[in-house]
Amino acid sequence: MDLRLSPDESAFRDAVRAFLRDELPPELATKVRQGLRLTRDDMARWHAILHARGWLASHWPREWGGPGWGPVQRFIFENECALAGAPRIVPFGVNMLGPVLIKYGSEPQKRHWLPRILDGSDWWCQGYSEPGAGSDLASLKTTAVRDGDHYVVNGQKTWTTLGHYANRMFCLVRTDRNAKPQEGISFLLIDLDSPGVEVRPIITLDGEHEVNEVFLTDVRVPADRLVGAENQGWTIAKYLLTYERTNIAGIGFSVAGLERLKVIARAVHKGGRPLIEDPLFAARLARVEIELENLKTTNLRVLAAVAGGGAPGPQSSLLKILGTQVRQEILSLTRRAVGPYALPWIEAALTLEGADQAVGPAGAASAAAQYFNYRKLSIFGGSNEIQKNIVAKTVLGL
């Protein structure tokens, strides 16, 4: 065994670092590092910078504008981006719809939609979850009824992340009500400016507007917005989920988060000593640091096992569960570290312009809000309970 990067991998990592050093706008990195809120423009700006370098769509083959990377390169790239404080790539168009179109889309669909994802003409969001069907996608109720060369769509989607920034939504809809629950589902592309679409904010417990409900009332969708065959939606959905899971452990975010936490724990004092030297706090920190050291290697092992690309199977459930546990624990310790200064909730201080309105140690302004916001990690994208069910069945045969 050899855990070191190969010369090629090292060179790649150096190239990514150089790119980030030269191209990542410092004000974006500052926002990410301090847990401040990113605007739609911030995200679009970072997409454009990556697109200019040809590194935006890391899962796509070269012919459609992807960089042609393997899983280890993607891991290195994502890791370095997180360490540098780069914003997260908004995954819905690039990492979710893109691979679906490449595999299931018609040639005209690919030619039309893929470039628009890369150049930012379209901002996609995801229409999967419904109020009655969170982790249980097979029970979804939104219907699409064929009417001439259109589908007429009725129903409600929820937890639509960044839907208020999007102009389009890919959507699972029921096209055959008589089929078994997992059959009769289709994959449809909907313009959000169509009549009958209403996007309503869902405010999360930290006061953030990030997710939405999308109400669909007699929305007419041209039939050529169907991806794949009618009633093939379940197959496509499963395929898409595997892509959602490629960077699921979020190692880079955790490494960066741990560094931020350590900075805070060195700066904050308790009993006249830096908090990082408090035995109980140090033990909590060490436990999560060790867990993360192990998880890095677990993630690389999974990647190495996925020869030549593609997405890992039930192992991705492992990475999801452990990755979210580690990230949540790091955020929990960050909140603990700032002590009473976790309480103040100064919304202005969550922007770059208002950062001087913060009270308490550096990093305190966003500590509690981020902790609460990221409780979502273990719920969304297939809850950790669902992941355990999958592992129990597929890995352990229970």
């Binding site: 029970s139 999360t204 009993g271 408090d278 603990r336 009473p340 909730w345 140690p361 409780r375 719920i379």
Partner: protein
């Protein structure tokens, strides 16, 4: 042994619960939290009228109770309704003024306090991280009065207080146990600057900065000889109150979670029929039962005559609550799934409050370390 409340305590709890259930829907709480004063003035008046504040104070301070179980009763009700009104300051400051060097000198303030004046303990400082003896604020004798300088961190309702009870150091180094005194600083005293802000769990707080603040000689609530024990008593009272509040909030969060598990269906059945979720709900129930016992132990010790044992069992309770409260908060959200993450669902506000209680008057680790130190002290004494 007797685990029942007195008739007075039971009646007070019933009337508070009824009043809050009727008059304090969560939207009213949200609206109040968004106002500059950070609480609902009318509701506060109503709580005062029902006797919530007198119950927190001993008869010697013009109150009607003030014992550990009185405090626990009021704050458990407050926790059930997620009250953001300034009960904590009233309890802590009232209990401390009642133990002042010259309690009779504070009778007028205690009267105002019992009538609903907002007051606040200003003790915690930046970089104290809950260490009770960490006082960098200084007090210097000057022309028959005192001059105070320092910075007090995250004072609950600190921006609305009509007076602050301020700890300041007469002598010694920043973390010395000796040399601390307590002063009363009324609102409007020159040199006090207040930076108010909302709190993530609702309500308001403030950082209070004192710059060459002059107060008269009789502003001294407790000199170095007594201040240490008065402060210890106040911190014990605050921790006890928060433990009881957390207990009330946990009860409700658990009930909401149980109801959700019973009614929400997925995969064709109530999610509460899934055994993995059942067992986790049972873990929460057990944590709440143990928390209730911890609060009882703490309240009884608060009334006892052994300050060491009081502080040891209150540390045990706050450590218990710190752990259990966070567990109940995190698991309640998780068992609710996405809906538990939303502002709209009251549960999420219970969860926030439960986690944030661990950031007031010392967190789980602080009180675990304190329990260890006090247990050792007790053994050395024995």
């Amino acid at each position: 042994m007797d685990f029942s409340l007195t008739d007075d305590q039971r009646m007070l709890a019933d009337s508070l619960d009824r009043y809050l259930a009727q008059r304090y829907p969560i939207d009213r709480r949200h609206a109040a939290a968004a106002t500059p004063q950070g609480y609902d003035v009318d509701l506060w008046a109503g709580l005062v009228e029902l006797g919530a504040v007198p119950a927190l104070l001993p008869e010697s301070a013009g109150g009607l109770g003030g014992g550990g179980f009185d405090i626990a009763t009021v704050f458990e009700s407050a926790g059930r309704a997620l009250v953001i009104e300034p009960l904590l300051g009233a309890a802590v400051v009232g209990q401390m003024l009642a133990r002042a060097d010259a309690p009779q000198a504070w009778a007028a303030w205690l009267e105002r306090l019992a009538a609903g004046a907002v007051v606040a303990l200003a003790h915690e400082e930046p970089d104290a991280h809950y260490e009770p003896t960490h006082v960098a604020t200084t007090a210097q004798h000057d022309a028959g009065g005192w001059v105070l300088d320092g910075h007090k961190a995250v004072v609950p309702h600190g921006g609305q207080a009509e007076g602050w009870l301020v700890s300041a150091r007469l002598s010694g180094a920043v973390r010395d146990a000796e040399g601390i005194a307590l002063f009363w600083v009324p609102r409007g005293t020159p040199g006090v600057s207040v930076r108010t802000y909302p709190r993530i769990d609702g309500g308001g707080a403030a950082d209070v900065t004192l710059t060459a603040v002059r107060v008269p000689a009789d502003a001294l609530v407790a000199g170095p000889a007594r201040a240490r024990q008065v402060l210890a008593h106040g911190l014990a009272c605050g921790a006890l109150a928060l433990c009881a509040e957390a207990l009330g909030a946990m009860e409700v969060a658990l009930r909401m979670t149980r109801d959700y598990l019973q009614t929400r269906r997925q995969f064709g059945r109530p999610i509460g029929s899934f055994q993995a979720l059942q067992h986790r709900a049972v873990d929460l129930w057990m944590a709440v039962e143990q928390s209730r016992s911890a609060v009882i132990n703490a309240a009884a010790a608060f009334d006892g005559d052994d300050p060491l044992e009081r502080d040891r069992l209150i540390a045990a309770a706050k450590a218990t609550i710190g752990r259990a409260g966070t567990q109940v908060a995190e698991e309640s959200i998780q068992l609710h799934g996405g809906i538990g993450m939303t502002w709209e669902l009251p549960l999420s506000h219970y969860a926030k409050r439960l986690v944030m209680i661990d950031h007031e008057f010392g967190d789980e680790d602080h009180h675990l370390a304190r329990f260890i130190a006090l247990s050792r002290e007790r053994e050395a004494r024995a």
